[in-house]
């Protein structure tokens, strides 16, 4: 069964450093998403991406964040200058249709020290 994959599973970085989180969505899906979950809290939407552009973003997704689909399979989230409060689990998701089921990857745990 096709699944969303994410790398790395755990990333530790120092405050102020840049990180890139990588995702490979399900191959026939057209809509891609990033969510984050701070430990013990609910899952929060960051950004959605369709047709090679951002289709929607939340207030969390400020200028420190960017997304890219560099080739036909990868989807990346970049945080330019990490802060302590960026420590969270970051989930990538993809869907076939706009309001279709969103399938989540296993997540990347980001720890900023």
């Amino acid at each position: 069964e096709p699944e969303v994959t994410q790398t790395p599973s755990h990333q530790v970085t120092q405050m102020g450093q840049e990180v890139i989180l990588r995702c490979v969505p399900i191959s026939n899906h057209l809509y891609f998403y990033w969510y984050r979950q701070i430990l013990g809290q609910k899952v929060e939407f960051l950004v959605s991406f369709y047709n090679n552009e951002i289709s929607e973003k939340s207030e969390i997704f400020d200028d420190q964040f960017s997304v890219e689909r560099p080739d036909g399979s990868n989807f990346t989230l970049k945080i330019r200058s990490t802060k302590l409060e960026d420590s969270a689990m970051y989930f990538c998701a993809s869907s076939e249709a706009r309001q279709g089921e969103q399938y989540f990857g296993p997540g990347t745990r980001l720890t900023v020290t």
């Binding site: 998403y33 959605s48 929607e56 969103q102 399938y103 989540f104 296993p106």
Partner: protein, 114 residues
């Protein structure tokens, strides 16, 4: 803005019994979609079930079924014949017809007791 409320932070159920998790939501939209996701200790988000607001028939997936009450803006999840593997956090989620983003509730931690 839409909000999703899960009023039960924690619940427990005996193995093989039935349990119902509650979810209410607030929206001004008439067309939308509702989901339940399961998050086991591994923290992977697993889709359990989906309901379209324009469908009156409640969705079912094996042991999982929903009770969708559109007028009351209620969307509860019933798990029948509970199994130890059902132990997880369960999140209710909403997406409006004009949106791309899922809005999640705070979750209910379900423990299945042997």
């Amino acid at each position: 803005a839409q909000t999703v409320t899960q009023s039960q932070p924690e619940m427990s159920v005996q193995e093989a019994e039935t349990v119902t998790l509650s979810c209410t939501y607030d929206t001004s939209e008439s067309n939308y979609y509702l989901f339940w996701y399961k998050q086991p200790p591994s923290r992977q988000m697993i889709l359990v079930i989906r309901q379209e607001a324009y469908k009156q028939q409640n969705a079912t997936e094996n042991r999982f079924s929903v009770n969708f009450q559109k007028a009351a803006k209620s969307f509860s999840l019933k798990i029948s014949d509970s199994q130890l593997g059902d132990t997880a956090m369960y999140f209710c989620a909403f997406i409006g017809a004009g949106s791309y983003q899922l809005t999640f509730g705070k979750g209910t931690k379900l423990s299945v007791i042997p």
